[in-house]
Symmetry: D2
Subunit: 343 residues, 4 copies
């Protein structure tokens, strides 16, 4: 059973990341982040996100999301996000437990939150019986593989800030958004009004390397303590940092993301050429959501395992990764075609 | 500035662990632990800890401690431990935040908890105003480098179990205890009455690899959810698992720990031969706590950085690691001797 | 500005409750619940709810809800309830903060949860990424003044129990349900499959008296500690208990609820006789939700203040209380009629 | 079995408080604190504590302590207090659970915290591994019935503020301190450097009435939401407020406290005249801690139940209340004398 399209988490580690990890393994180094690799990672992150961007490396994406949210969400606060957002559905209630706060979902439209949905929670502000809307959390690209344009982000941030709310971005796949939109990371985050970001590299060729980027000293202020208390402080931090260095030093993050995006597009195009197979959402990053005849799903999964997202339609999800090749994509398209044609 | 004795966390990764990580980097694999490396790691852990030992790999030691404790500590419970225990002093309040429970410290004797200290909290049981003592947490070897003998562990567990309390062991350096006492891991844990264990390899040559070992199905029951919610579930789990495989497959864990222990002993012996330098605690694992003349501390730290533990005496801590060599130890002893003699 | 229909919380204390409180004020008594009044309250609650019903008095309804839920909800659990349920909307996130768990809402139908909505969350069970559905929380009567029939409750409990979930009932107005359905409290709770109940008297003529009723020793087991830790243990408990005694000893709870129900019915009937005024939900307990012409709302609120529930329609809420009189109702109906006719 | 000296919580409600509660029971009133009684209570509290003192009424003392602390303690913070403080020993871990923070105890000296004990935790500040000392919590009078002089409070606050820490005072019996020291409430709190106060009346003749007093807008800012989320918001608030009004309007709080203090003094003097009976701590408020021959304890408890505080010595605790009379005191002294003389 192969897993080339199951998840970008199923992919391995890019060889240059492996090399950097090995290179970081020289003798003893100060633990908990006071080493040279970590300093270099912070520098590289500042070069991407701006001089006032404070970085806090974490182990995984849930850790980064919750840590970032913890800087902007009081326990009596609520986090407004879509019903398909990772923080709402795939973190086993980590935000609720760690923050004590409410995750308040609205129905996503193609996976996206819209400004009017923020406006609709504003009347709760100031009423002591209700969790106070304090944060809008958006995912870029969304869990459905769609993208917010810069203007959309600006509008969301404008409405949120006007209501005294902060903007958190789950950027577990932010690289894919930057590659797809051809926009600098800072332009897509801080400059668009994002206050705090989870920036992930794990799905893009790292072994396990995520970071919280705080665009504001007030947010950054207590994150070191929060990270330790939230169990996300690595003792041998240099091996986390080395992954950032390898990914960021030579735009590897961008090339990897671009590959994944292109392969998703190729797969979507191939699939669209098959009768009775259609894309369910616009394919804008590295995810393809497709409606396929339910009779072929089990057979296809034997060729390449993947997840059924919405059993009712049925919709399946195919993810492309930094190491997905044209051959693998084309072979899979042919398998689909063969199976569907045989119906 | 060198860090050969600052902490076993300052050490790097054993070459064989690095090789295993590289070997695990083959193509795509199921994420979140359903891969072959993780299955192999679980098998090896069962061979060390018994067939009924359920393992849950985590990123770091604080994560393992809190996750393990979460299975046995209700929010209204208290965790009885010494005042030098890592869970009480060095986790920035992670147990309190994640569990909602009280960490209740007693004064350690050479870093150890004694059965009568457990008996002294028993009267709180059943009184609704008091946090209920539900867990005894001990560290083996202790944070002061001392060891519990098997009989001591049995007695502690006996008193705890009689009072309806569970026993948690922080085994961040359990390997060093096994090497020093020449006892099998299971004999030093489950067979001695330990209910749930944090088993750490990070300080012993891994990159970052810890595990919760539950010796009881009731404890193991909900740990998968707890781990996810506590943000300790790795997506590319195989790279965590590979570290366990490399460390456990050929007793590397034991040899590494033995080296560190021997080097600590050698350093302690060397230092003891110097006038005005004495060991403060028995050197039983890989830590040396020494009283040294305060005038030399800053100079010594320039040769090899280390931490001052108790500023009043002053007491310093020197940790040996799996890669500490006789030459490094002997050189450092000579530096100490020279500096002290020059006073 | 009068508040006769604003909320049953706006009402005062029934004279017999006041007398009981005064009677309890004799000399010194053991604090924290070991007094005779509390023993008597427990007895009376057992006579209502069965011999195996364990009671824990609390200060308020949010306290009772959260305490009851805390016995059946692990932090990685989710509480399935409607989007209009008090635990989801009106407790400022208390369940999330105190339990660390997720409150997972489904769209209520006339304020009620249906068995198929429980079935729809069952697939989450066993998946480590998702909060585990462990509790169904229903409100009886609902926040929209509607009622679950016994058969409906049994079906909900059947589906929930089959999935390993517990059933919590928010019975802040349970008395109104018993009166309306003419059913014994036990038949409407434990016998219908409810595992743990919040039983409220505050809205029904008490000063501030709620209780968690646990129908199962396993649930009751740690509630004393939970209550203390959740800050709901009264020191001078006898004055809480006295309210229960007064309300329960002579069926005052039932008569008060019956009055409130009848007055709501009278108000609904009166309003329905007015052109352009209609009931929005079936009036089954002591709440009337009515659609009224928006032009008259402000004027009506000056006569008797009330809340606008759904600004869009607009829908208003009128609550009847134990002390609502026919005269007050009839006068208000006439005011409405006059204002609407004048449009 | 009588309970005249068991606890000031065993006492009942002062008749004037009862009258005020009855008086508040007139018709309907806005719930949740927007009523006239609550406004009057707030005014009276401002007249005691200053115009910038914001009040939040709560149900009980644990609720007030935790709510007050929640405004000044981040989850990664620690609360420095003595090992006999109520927040550390008698709240079943409520601070840990609700705040997620560490309660960090130091050994009290006659129940009091000293400035040097604060200085000793300052080195933890800025170290990410350690809970950050953010609050000093002191009890006035202490749990051992001793008092801080104004100068002592100022010194504590000075050291705390210099280290960036806030000062919380548990004033469950603050009235007794004011009466004993003959000092205005504001002088003993805000003017002495206290940032946030729990002000309790329950032990002093109320039925159940406590308040958080915030001396700083930044602290008061989110307390309304915190109170609701912490389940301390009363729906029929007027009955809580009425207790404050009755207690504060005519200095009843001060007269009650003075009575209790004098009766404790009388009891201490009487007991001191008995051979083999001695006061263990200075009797400065309404508590007497006495060493008595262990053989008489059980017999004395049959006359008037009381608690054995330190079984080893043995030390017993006798509390005087607002309604303790000279006759009751003198009778009890005679019983003690008779029993001890008969040994």
């Amino acid at each position: 059973m192969k897993h080339m399209f199951a998840s970008d988490n199923s992919s391995g580690v890019h060889p240059r990341v492996m090399e950097a990890i090995a290179r970081a393994n020289q003798g003893h180094a100060v633990s908990y982040g006071d080493d040279e690799w970590t300093q270099r990672a912070h520098e590289l992150l500042r070069s991407l996100f701006g001089d006032d961007a404070a970085s806090f490396l974490t182990f995984n994406g849930t850790g980064a999301n919750v840590l970032g949210l913890s800087a902007v969400t009081p326990p009596y606060g609520s986090i407004v996000c879509t019903d398909c957002s990772h923080v709402a559905t795939d973190e086993c209630g980590a935000p609720e437990r760690i923050l004590g706060a409410k995750v308040s979902t609205v129905t996503g439209r193609l996976g996206k939150l819209s400004p009017d949905q923020i406006e609709r929670v504003v009347p709760d502000i100031g009423i002591q019986h209700h969790s106070q809307p304090r944060v809008v959390s958006i995912t870029q690209p969304t869990e459905l593989g769609t993208l917010y344009e810069v203007d959309e982000l600006r509008e969301i941030a404008g409405v949120a800030h006007a209501a005294g709310m902060r903007v958190h971005m789950d950027g577990a796949r932010l690289s894919n958004a930057c590659a797809a939109l051809d926009i600098e990371p800072r332009a897509l985050t801080a400059d668009a009004g994002v206050d705090v970001l989870s920036f992930g590299l794990t799905k893009n060729g790292a072994m396990g390397a995520e970071a919280v980027i705080a665009f504001d000293a007030e947010i950054a202020n207590d994150l070191a303590y929060q990270r330790k208390q939230q169990m996300q402080l690595a003792s041998k931090m240099r091996f986390l940092a080395a992954q950032f260095v390898a990914m960021l030093e030579d735009d590897l993050w961008l090339r990897n993301a671009d590959t994944a995006n292109r392969m998703a597009g190729r797969l979507a195009d191939g699939a669209a050429s098959i009768d009775r197979v259609t894309s369910v959402y616009p394919v804008q990053a590295n995810a393809v959501f497709a409606a396929v005849p339910h009779e072929v799903i089990a057979t296809l999964q034997k060729h390449q395992y993947f997840y059924v997202w919405e059993p009712d339609r049925p919709t399946v999800r195919w993810m492309a990764s930094f190491d997905t090749t044209e051959t693998v994509v084309d072979d899979f398209v042919e398998v689909i075609r063969k199976e569907v044609d045989a119906l």
